[in-house]
């Protein structure tokens, strides 16, 4: 139970302030990158018309996610953003599912990962909005429908970042703490696999999907 509070950190003093690196999250993120790169390598190695199993899996991901993106955006914009959507979904899915392996922690368990992904989605969406509508029209939208709604609109945009990041972080962290606590309390062999199945596989997949879909929807709201 003491593992609950432990965070391995590397503190680097830099110009008077301390930069802290959470080593758990960083190492796990690199492992997830490694897994994804290996998967991508094997999926595209011998591209044939009659695909092998790894290629089928890759094609399944890509086709489903391209379809999702096209639903939300129009065709040419979808082509531009679909690789981002694919990468985001696969990264989140793998990082939520890596918790199944013993002694591995999900990188999304640390608030930094979901928050940075949320900020990235926010910056991409608003940059796309400014580029497609022009700066004046973009700023004018904040003053719709009545001009003193401006602070409310700004707060609403910031609330979107907080909500998607905290939703992902809370689900994954909460799930892992619950598995830890229940396993500690019950000493059983039977219960933890079912908990893992529910919290890690099921909730992890759904939350990865919801995060990705919300990012696509926010991009589409800004761009249209």
């Amino acid at each position: 139970m003491d593992e609950l509070g432990k965070v391995y950190q590397l503190i680097v003093p830099c110009f008077g302030h301390n930069m802290t690196f959470n080593l758990d999250a960083i190492a796990m993120t690199w492992i997830v990158f490694g897994v994804l790169i290996v998967f991508g390598f094997f999926a595209t190695r011998n591209k044939s018309l009659l695909p092998g199993p790894v290629q089928v899996l890759g094609e399944l991901f890509v086709s489903q996610l391209y379809g999702l993106t096209e639903d939300a955006l129009d065709k040419e914009k979808a082509e531009k953003y679909a690789p981002l959507v694919c990468a985001l979904f696969m990264f989140l899915l793998m990082s939520n599912w890596i918790g199944m392996i013993p002694h591995m922690h999900e990188p999304t368990k640390d608030l930094n990962t979901p928050l940075s992904l949320g900020l990235m989605g926010f910056v991409i969406a608003h940059y796309a909005g400014i580029k497609s509508k022009g700066f004046k029209a973009y700023v004018k939208e904040y003053f719709e429908p009545i001009f003193f709604m401006m602070p409310l609109n700004v707060i609403g945009e910031l609330a979107k970042i907080v909500s998607i990041s905290f939703r992902l972080f809370g689900n994954i962290m909460g799930g892992s703490i619950i598995i830890l606590v229940v396993s500690y309390l019950t000493f059983s062999v039977l219960l933890p696999p079912f908990l893992n199945a529910f919290f890690v596989i099921f909730v992890g997949a759904i939350q990865a999907f919801v995060f990705t879909m919300l990012t696509v929807v926010y991009i589409s709201v800004q761009v249209k």
């Binding site: 139970m1 909460g174 703490i177 619950i178 606590v181 229940v182 500690y184 309390l185 529910f198 909730v203």
Partner: protein, 82 residues
């Protein structure tokens, strides 16, 4: 009545556990009840699909249960761990 410091902390922990599970049981009760009621209506309208409808109802109720599980875990944490 001289109450010890640790005693009152434990008292508060028990109070918190009771509140957590007590209030936390309200929502899943109502939600799962609504799901079951509509499932009955759905099977009444379309009895051929009973298996599919039952499965859907159970999955929906399981997801609705998860918040009750969170309350249960907080209550257990307050009772036995902290």
């Amino acid at each position: 009545m001289a109450i010890e410091g640790t005693d009152i902390v434990q008292a508060a922990a028990f109070l918190g556990a009771g509140l957590s599970m007590g209030l936390g049981a309200i929502g899943p009760g109502i939600g799962e009840g609504m799901a079951a009621a509509k499932a009955c209506e759905a099977i009444g309208k379309n009895p051929k699909e009973a298996g599919l409808l039952t499965r859907t109802m159970l999955v929906g109720q399981a997801v609705s249960e998860s918040t009750g599980i969170y309350s249960l875990v907080i209550a257990l944490l307050l009772l036995f761990v902290v």
